[in-house]
């Protein structure tokens, strides 16, 4: 089995009295499309910034493709591309000049590198903006430029920190298509996002961080199977009462959504509904999704 793409060992970070990370142990497999989820302030960005060397952990070690982020930072940074969350301005240089400068920092130049930059501009639909400065770019274009800048040195691991925050639907789709292509080419991709359906559709493995701690880390399928609940929608007429009323988690326009323990059968629910005089017209079982799992693991007191 190959070494992890990124490995965190007991990584903790303290800001004053606040522990932003409380000892994270995590191994992100090579070639995975990895989701790093958590509420705002959970510690995701701190973890990513520590991986990129932008934050120095108070304790613990991080390796990227086997290279220690602190001791062997040149090799670890060559292996890592980071698309930061914040949009960035650089008033003095054009898009192409910025890509050339970033290449130069990595020691890359010449005809092959220029061809790669042309390809990046093309694939990210920035060719016609190659000679304009960043303040002339829209938010979506700046986001694409950040992705291009993170890819100039052909990293083996790409970190996308909230890449679709504030991005319109069309651009979001094109970004995910591009990310899937990179992943299909063998790149390890680490994604943080607030859009859980995105993580569910893209990622094959997911970690959830809550208040600086790793709550769970598993394959997506395994994680979804961990949901303690299932949801059932009954469409019909009447009014639930008694014990049945206590199981209603949402009132729908034409029925009710019930939350049942995952192992509970439907028979008892249907019997209770009929006992309340409900005329059942339709029945839907809602499979657990990532949002339910996420919320159940990160609810207050979880």
């Amino acid at each position: 089995m190959s070494a992890p793409a990124v490995e965190f060992q007991g990584v903790a970070k303290r800001y004053g009295d606040l522990w932003a990370l409380k000892g994270i142990d995590l191994a992100i497999p090579q070639g995975s499309f990895y989701g790093l989820l958590g509420h705002n302030g959970a510690g995701k960005s701190t973890l990513i910034n520590a991986m990129a060397g932008l934050v120095t952990p108070t304790r613990g070690r991080i390796r990227v493709m086997g290279h220690d982020v602190q001791r062997n930072y040149r090799a670890s940074r060559r292996a890592l591309g980071v698309v930061p969350q914040e949009l960035i301005d650089e008033p003095f240089f054009s898009v192409r000049e910025l890509l050339e400068l970033q290449s130069g920092y990595f020691g890359l130049h010449g005809r092959r590198q220029r061809a790669w930059l042309d390809e990046l501009l093309e694939r990210l639909s920035l060719t016609d903006k190659a000679n304009v400065k960043t303040h002339q770019l829209s938010g979506g274009m700046k986001r694409r430029l950040l992705i291009a800048l993170a890819l100039v040195h052909h990293p083996e691991v790409l970190v996308l920190d909230e890449p679709t925050a504030g991005v319109d639907v069309a651009l979001r789709r094109s970004l995910w298509t591009f990310a899937r292509e990179l992943h299909a080419g063998g790149m390890t991709i680490i994604l943080t996002t607030h859009y859980l359906e995105e993580a569910e559709s893209l990622c094959d493995r997911i970690a959830i961080i809550h208040r600086g701690e790793l709550v769970v880390e598993a394959d997506k399928a395994e994680l979804l199977a961990r949901s303690p609940w299932k949801h059932v929608e009954i469409i019909g007429r009447g009014e639930p009462s008694g014990a049945l009323a206590g199981q209603v988690c949402e009132r729908l326009a034409d029925g009710w959504r019930f939350r049942l323990p995952r192992e509970a059968g439907l028979g008892a629910l249907l019997d209770q509904a009929r006992a309340c005089g409900i005329e059942i017209e339709d029945l839907r079982v809602i499979e657990p999704d990532l949002e339910q799992v996420f919320l159940s693991l990160t609810e207050e007191g979880a």
């Binding site: 800001y15 910034n49 990129a52 060397g53 932008l54 934050v55 120095t56 930072y73 040149r74 090799a75 940074r77 060559r78 890592l80 980071v82 930061p84 914040e86 949009l87 960035i88 301005d89 650089e90 008033p91 003095f92 240089f93 400068l101 970033q102 130069g104 920092y105 990595f106 020691g107 890359l108 130049h109 800048l149």
Partner: protein, 253 residues
Amino acid sequence: MNWRGLWTLFMKESRRFLSVAVQTLFAPVVTTLLYLLVFGQLLDEESVAFRGVDYAHFLVPGLAMMALMQNAFANSSSSLIQSKMHGNIVFLLLAPLSPLEIYLAFLGSAVLRGLLVGLMVFLVGWLGYGVSWQAPGWILLFAVLSGAVMGGLGIMAGILSEKYDHLAAFQNFIVVPLTFLSGVFYSIHQLPPVWQQASHFNPFFYMVDGFRYGFFQQSDVPLGVSLSVTFGFLALVSAINLWLLVKGVKIRH
């Protein structure tokens, strides 16, 4: 060493100031020449700083050095604070550049801008006042060392400042007073004894004095002292900067 990375950053920093040359090169030259015009004319009859050297001739190297120092400082400090404010410093921090490489690139560009501004001031002094030079090697050495010291102080100020206000305080309360009181406009022998003593605690004084030696082969303190103090101060500033960059103070969190 990542030489290509260092060179790229040096070129980036240099292209940055060259792209706004009116602001970064020509404006400081004009300001400095106004000093020359006003002080040179007003004080020429009154003051003899060095034996056999009239005041305007004495003043030109001092002003060239002042312009060099202030612009070397401005280059690195403003670039760093802007990078922090715009957020683009992140791309530097994500690159495989060592603290030493980052330091040398910023320093080199600061020295270049300082030399260009200082050279232009000197050229006007040469053409307008016929200022000549006795020991160009010393002139160049002190120009480069002083540019490096000031570029280094600019890096320090840029790293430590969290907003433009902090940088302005560093510039206006430390750099400008120390520059003006470094003997740019006078020889310290013209000062009362207490101020003569106080001037010896100003490291900028040794840079100006050593630089001026290259023009007149006269100085307020022995050349070796100026050279040692300037080298020593550069070593101190460099050591502090490298420590700040290695620790990531105010840059890496």
